[in-house]
């Protein structure tokens, strides 16, 4: 019969202890998420209805729905996506595929990482100065979306570059050895194998900006505007600002309203995140090498 030694038993106890410790930390991390969602659903749930999503706010924003704010946030995110995809992808392609490995490239990479740490209120002021005033877009969807785009560009570039770097180097060298130019190699081998990661990464990053308030407050989001914008040069309501307004600025708001708005906002971000994850799973399912 095998008898565990004292050392075996000791190791076993440590193993169990460590497992419980790590599991505990993980649960601790999940707990706030669960509580937040639970509170939102419990308190905001009653406010939710089809009318809530499709009607204008009424009664000094104490009754009615959130339709213009919901549409506004979708428009802001879409225009931000359209602006950040070409610029971010092009910059990442340059950094990953063309840039020589020298001090300038390293400096640019460092700058990009630091740019990601710039507080959103600073981006807001930049957007106000650059897009609203200097370029003369006024407070508009365009100015607000460009501000959001600038804000997310660093993370978009980093995530795109990671997707590009995930394509093994020998594939590139095999193409170059055949006389393919850098661009031919990128177009025929690198991009087709990186595109799913690039797109899902961008959707993930940009969808996070749906909840940003500061950058759009100065540049394009309106306090109250009960109709839809006609072009990107109009102002718009947005969910994040609307949440701030009904939670702090408007008297006599029923308690369920701000929670309902928050629930819709979080739901939107979650839907975009899961869409991006689903897209990634579908596209990555096929093993290519």
């Amino acid at each position: 019969m095998f008898e565990p030694t004292e050392l075996n038993a000791h190791n076993w106890r440590i193993e169990q202890g460590m497992r419980v410790l790590f599991l505990g930390m993980t649960l601790l991390l999940v707990l706030p998420v669960v509580i937040i969602l639970a509170v939102l659903v419990y308190k905001g749930g009653p406010a939710l209805s089809w009318a809530f999503l499709t009607e204008n706010p009424t009664g000094g924003m104490t009754t009615g729905g959130i339709f213009p704010a919901l549409m506004g946030t979708i428009a802001l995110v879409l225009v931000a996506l359209i602006a950040s995809i070409p610029v971010g992808v092009a910059a990442a392609i340059y950094l990953s595929e063309y840039a020589p490995d020298n001090w300038l490239t390293r400096l640019i990479n460092l700058a990009i990482i630091n740019l990601a740490g710039v507080p959103s209120i600073v981006h807001a002021l930049f957007g106000l100065g650059a897009f609203v005033l200097f370029f003369g877009f006024g407070t508009s969807i365009l100015a607000a979306s460009l501000t959001l785009a600038i804000m997310t560009l660093p993370v978009v570039i980093v995530s795109t570059r990671e997707s590009l770097q995930a394509v093994p180097q020998p594939f590139r060298e095999a193409c170059w050895n055949m006389g393919a130019t850098r661009w031919q190699t990128i177009a025929r081998v690198v991009l087709p194998n990186a595109i799913s990661g690039i797109l899902t990464g961008i959707i993930l990053e940009v969808s996070r900006t749906a909840g940003e308030t500061a950058p759009i407050m100065f540049t394009g989001a309106a306090f109250f505007l009960p109709f839809l914008p006609e072009s990107v040069f109009d102002q718009t309501m947005a969910l994040s600002l609307h949440l701030f307004v009904v939670a702090t600025q408007v008297p006599n708001v029923p308690e369920s309203l701000p929670y309902g708005v928050a629930l819709v906002l979080i739901g939107m971000v979650l839907i975009m995140n899961s869409a991006s994850i689903a897209l990634r799973m579908v596209l990555r399912n096929r093993k290519k090498w």
């Binding site: 594939f171 060298e173 095999a174 193409c175």
Partner: protein
């Protein structure tokens, strides 16, 4: 060679060629010629600089960090450094390295890539090229029913032959083979060797091999590399039967390496 035979055309002339990786010297002071339409064998133990020589011919130093070369290499009468259009140079040189790389494209697209890069669009023409190259690389029978399968998921030996087919699809003037049979079974290797003998009427072939007998079977002339030196170059018969250097003799008799 009889007296009346025309002087061979020099396809490659290496003079005082040295190859470095950072501070490490992989090849130093190599001088030899490769003639047009011959099979030029290079034998020698591992790390003697054989692959490094091939890398120079395709100017891989331009994208290999730390790699550089000194001396001159003339290719088709023109200094390699004077080829302004490196893409044109590389299109004229087909390479097969020991670690095969099937691109993550279909088998068909792997072989059709080079023709497409030089502008061939017609499906019929591509079909003909793909089949011819796959046949020459002794891969056609195994993949003809699944040309749409991913080249990067073929077995190692199949990927190696796919790489050969891809190099041939460039219709190169110069074919560089680096231990091409490392993952290929002996029977298939023999089939490819037969093809190489025919191909030399169309192109010049430099064959790096760790199988001395392969050089003996195929090469018109052979060079022996050792520890970054080109020790000896000569017609294959002479090199194998009457080597000028003791180290060459020791190597081909299998006493080291």
């Amino acid at each position: 060679m009889s007296d009346s035979a025309p002087a061979p055309v020099k396809e490659i002339e290496a003079r005082k060629l040295s190859v470095h990786y950072g501070r490490h010297t992989a090849l130093s002071g190599a001088n030899f010629d490769v003639y047009r339409n011959e099979i030029f064998g290079i034998i020698g133990p591992a790390n003697s600089g054989k692959t490094s020589f091939l890398r120079v011919l395709n100017r891989m130093d331009t994208f290999t960090p730390g790699m550089r070369f000194e001396g001159t290499v003339m290719y088709r009468g023109k200094d390699l450094r004077d080829w302004r259009n490196l893409y044109a140079l590389r299109r004229s040189v087909g390479v097969v390295f020991p670690l095969p790389v099937g691109l993550p494209l279909s088998v068909y697209d792997n072989v059709a890539l080079a023709p497409r890069l030089r502008g061939v669009r017609a499906k019929a023409e591509l079909d003909v090229t793909v089949e011819r190259c796959l046949r020459r690389a002794a891969l056609w029978d195994e993949v003809k029913d699944r040309l749409g399968a991913l080249g990067s998921l073929l077995s190692g030996g199949q990927q190696q032959r796919l790489t050969i087919a891809r190099a041939l699809s460039q219709e190169p003037d110069l074919l560089l083979l680096d231990e091409f049979s490392i993952a290929v079974d002996p029977v298939t290797t023999m089939r490819i060797e037969d093809v190489l003998k025919q191909l030399k009427s169309e192109m010049t072939i430099v064959l790096v091999t760790n199988l001395t007998q392969q050089a003996r079977r195929l090469a018109d002339r052979t060079a022996f590399f050792l520890q970054g030196q080109c020790v000896e170059v000569g017609p294959t018969n002479e090199l194998f039967n009457d080597p000028q250097h003791d180290k060459t003799r020791a190597y081909i008799e299998g006493r080291f390496g």
